[in-house]
């Protein structure tokens, strides 16, 4: 137990040295750090949002909307196909998560099933290298045909929607000038957004809360006003709320369901001024420009509505065909809201609405306070334990345990800096706790050595036995502590994860320092000095 080959000594010292080097950037001034070559992994601790200040948002993609859109599209195209084939059907509609249609005639029903199967899209299975239809169509004896999205298709759509949302979110946030945002998928239909340094995320939350689906549609001014008041919309028309300037609240606008031009054909949007009013100018791509040109040419004198997320923002009269492919939205804007709308149009629409299901924001002053508190607690705890160890085991053995403890701290900071794991306030608590429990390994050893001396062993034999016998206990106690850390890591979000990480690292490094470093020092001392009695 007390014999150390040279290579082992070298290895232990090398690990300590590397840990020290990795921890070093935390002591260096920022300018010196930046002067280092970039290939060096020299980075200071990565502070979590609760220490540096910032915002953590958990968003949920509304998957039901995506499914509903797909089903409605099926209803639309199936209606046309069934009519063309002259199949008599009734009750074609979306019911819950299914499309249902009734075809009485058995032969026609057979053909209807074929037509509905034809609506399916093929989805690729990347693992098997095959494709499969995204719909399952079943005909019942009562004439009902039920169309459902398959389980695989649902999953596929959800995943695609989350991926697409992440992309759009990134574009939107980048445009606000936030630095170092983290945007990640979490689980099946959630997205984590971390915004360091943003202590009031209200603007970003507003931006993310908008789907930003824009459509240009015709207004039908032939609908009688009393029908609008009663909410009786004719086929193909819907009544939408309006944000137009000078409008009374609650007044609805009758708008065609059919989309004249969709907002995804926009290539650019900018906030500008017209007659001292903030407006948004936009430009279509070539397809959008042609469609817009044709549509306005056919409908001169009528009104068209610019609809954003189901609300009319403006409904101007078409005075002449607009062929240039660009235009201006003059809604009820402030400078800020015109800027936001332009930003949203540039970044594109989300595939489905996002819901914020969790938010944790910390202001910079609280973060700084937490750092101060954490440092005070760590220094206080460390000082108390250093003194206590010397009082209990004397300057020499207490000193060795203390040296191991300090090296242990340096190693923890080194590993955390190297891996760039987030350092959170609970993380600091984890380190402080580790300081308290890390000496346990040395305590176990020393107490055992005391016992062995009492049983009449020589110093060398007592030390040897002490280390050997304490070893199994140290392994057991550290492994059990590690298990709880792993479980915590699995449970934890953000800050609590930080606690799990620091305590897990602390357990590993304290086991290392106690069984290698302090043992090596003691072994070297014993061999050199050959003491007659141990002052422990």
């Amino acid at each position: 137990m007390l014999h150390f080959p040279r290579w082992k000594i070298a290895l232990i010292l090398a690990v300590c040295g590397l840990g020290f080097l990795a921890a070093l950037p935390n002591l260096m001034p920022k300018a010196a750090l930046e002067a280092l070559p970039s290939w060096l992994p020299a980075r200071p601790l990565h502070l979590g949002l609760d220490l540096r200040g910032g915002s953590h948002l958990l968003l949920e993609v509304d998957a039901d909307t995506i499914v509903k859109e797909r089903l409605e599209a099926i209803v639309d195209s199936a209606r046309g196909d069934l009519r063309r084939e002259r199949i008599a059907y009734t009750d074609l509609s979306v019911v819950g998560k299914e499309v249902v249609v009734v075809v009485r005639d058995a032969q026609e029903r057979e053909r209807a099933v074929q037509i509905l199967r034809g609506q399916a899209m093929q989805i690729a299975n990347s693992v098997m290298g095959t494709t499969a239809p995204d719909l399952s169509v079943q005909a019942g004896a009562d004439g009902r045909i039920v169309v459902q999205l398959t389980e695989v298709a649902l999953k596929d759509r959800r995943r695609a929607a989350v991926d697409q949302s992440i992309e759009i979110i990134r574009r939107r946030i980048d445009q606000t000038g936030t630095s170092e945002p983290v945007i990640q998928r979490e689980g099946d239909q959630r997205i984590v957004v971390q915004l360091p340094g943003v202590d009031d995320p209200d603007r970003i939350k507003r931006l993310l809360g908008k789907t930003a689906k824009m459509t240009f549609r015709l207004v039908d001014d032939n609908v009688p006003l009393e029908d609008i008041a009663r909410g009786r919309a004719p086929a193909g028309i819907e009544f939408l709320d309006s944000d137009e300037r000078g409008r009374r609240t609650g007044e609805k606008t009758p708008v065609q369901r059919r989309v004249m031009v969709s907002g995804d054909t926009l290539t650019d949007a900018q906030a500008t001024f017209q007659d001292n009013q903030p407006v948004v100018s936009f430009r279509f791509d070539s397809i959008g420009a042609r469609r817009f040109g044709e549509a306005t040419e056919r409908n001169v004198g009528k009104r068209f509505a610019i609809v954003l997320d189901g609300r009319v923002i403006s409904a101007p009269v078409i005075r002449e065909p607009i062929r240039g492919g660009s235009g201006i939205i003059s809604g009820n804007f402030t400078v800020q809201s015109a800027n936001d709308l332009a930003l949203l149009l540039r970044a594109g629409a989300l595939p489905a609405p996002l819901k914020i299901v969790e938010e944790r924001s910390v202001g910079p002053s609280l973060g700084a306070d937490s750092i101060r508190a954490g440092v005070a607690a760590s220094v206080g705890g460390l000082a108390l334990i250093l003194i206590y160890m010397v009082m209990s085991y004397g300057l020499f053995f207490g000193g060795i345990a203390n040296l191991a403890l300090i090296v242990n701290l340096v190693l923890i900071v080194g590993v955390l800096s190297l891996t760039q794991a987030s350092m959170t306030l609970p993380g600091i608590a984890g380190i402080v706790l580790t300081i308290g429990m890390a000496v346990d390994a040395n305590v176990l050893i020393y107490e055992r050595v005391r016992e062995e001396i009492r049983s009449g062993k020589t110093p060398l034999a007592a030390m040897d036995a002490g280390y050997a016998r304490a070893m199994t206990t140290i392994i057991d106690s550290n492994l059990t502590a590690l298990i709880t850390s792993v479980i915590l890591f699995w449970l934890g979000s953000g800050p609590v994860k930080g606690f799990a990480v620091t305590s897990a690292i602390g357990i590993a490094t304290s086991a290392f320092t106690a069984v290698s470093l302090s043992r090596m020092i003691v072994a070297t001392w014993l061999r050199r000095m050959r003491p007659q009695r141990l002052d422990i």
Partner: protein, 319 residues
């Protein structure tokens, strides 16, 4: 030379003599804790209750709680509570409960921020939707259950099943008493408290394993010693170490409690309690329970195995 000793060496405390009293007391306390956890129940924090918590600091001297209550009272269906927090300039505002929808909660939070306006700095805003909070409750319960099971399985593998019974009894005791104390002290029960409970499990396990290690060693060393004497011996032999480590852990936790700030205070408080409970349970529950679990049979088996291993070795040496 002077040495600080919490426990003198060669103690001979008859711990096992009090086992019936101790175990009975722990059962009673555990039962009381369960009752307390149901009524009045834990003071659930925003993680598990859902809703909004806003920590605001007044920029113009001490916050007037009465006036704030009056102006914020009507928001969110009146479900807004205020309390002083830390210094006199700081207020903690809580809105809503798990039953409300995300949108309603958000709107109420916006309204509160708007009402407080520029006179306050918002140091912390935490919003947890009803679905997320119920998920957090689930995973917290899972974490604690998994933690307990993992410890039990570990001890079963490394020792014998008898030891794992002692372990689980003492760990359940620790968790229950901690929950009971939290129900009394009304500290906010948040994820960080779950972290504390899991750490207590790890810590108490640590203590228990050290005693068990010694019990196992002594079972092989003293073949004829009666079990109660042997358990007492093992606990006494490790007592000095147990006390030392409890002390160092406490020394680390006390500054954390006093200087760690409001967010850490609850965690440190729970942990300090955990050190006491964990130390107690390793000494007075985990080890004493072994006496009821028929360890002597195991001991005979070990003895036979040791003899069988020693015999051929002795024969081989003879010629």
């Amino acid at each position: 030379m002077f040495r600080l000793r919490l426990v003198p060496s060669n103690t001979r405390f008859p711990f096992l003599r009090y086992r019936v009293v101790c175990i009975a007391a722990s059962v009673v306390f555990g039962a009381v804790s369960i009752v307390l956890a149901i009524w009045p129940g834990l003071s659930m924090g925003v993680d598990f209750r859902g809703g909004v918590t806003i920590e605001a600091r007044s920029l113009s001297g001490p916050a007037d709680l009465g006036a704030l209550r009056a102006s914020l009272g009507g928001i969110g269906g009146g479900d807004v509570t205020l309390q002083e927090f830390g210094s006199r300039n700081d207020v903690l505002i809580r809105i809503g409960s798990a039953s409300e929808s995300e949108d309603a909660l958000r709107a109420a939070a916006e309204k509160v921020k708007e009402t407080l306006g520029a006179k306050f700095e918002f140091r912390r805003v935490e919003f947890v939707g009803p679905q997320v909070s119920s998920e957090l409750i689930q995973s917290a319960i899972w974490a604690v259950v998994l933690g307990l099971l993992a410890m039990m399985v570990y001890v079963w593998f490394r020792f014998e099943w008898q030891f794992s019974i002692g372990t689980i009894a003492s760990l359940v005791h620790d968790v229950l008493l901690t929950v009971g104390l939290l129900a009394i002290t009304r500290y906010d029960f948040n994820l960080s408290q779950i972290a504390a409970i899991l750490t207590i499990i790890g810590y108490s396990m640590n203590d228990t394993v050290v005693v068990f290690d010694r019990v196992r060693e002594n079972l092989r060393k003293w073949r004829k010693m009666p079990l109660d004497e042997l358990l007492d011996l093992s606990i006494n032999e490790t007592l000095s170490r147990t006390m030392m480590t409890s002390m160092t852990t406490l020394l680390a936790l006390i500054p954390l409690y006093f200087f760690g700030g409001d967010a850490i205070e609850g965690f440190a408080f729970t942990m300090i309690w955990g050190v006491f409970v964990g130390t107690y349970s390793s000494i007075f529950i985990a080890a004493p329970i072994l006496i009821y679990l028929d360890l002597d049979k195991k001991r005979e088996q070990w003895a036979r195995e040791a003899d069988a291993a020693a015999l051929p070795a002795a024969k081989a040496e003879k010629p």
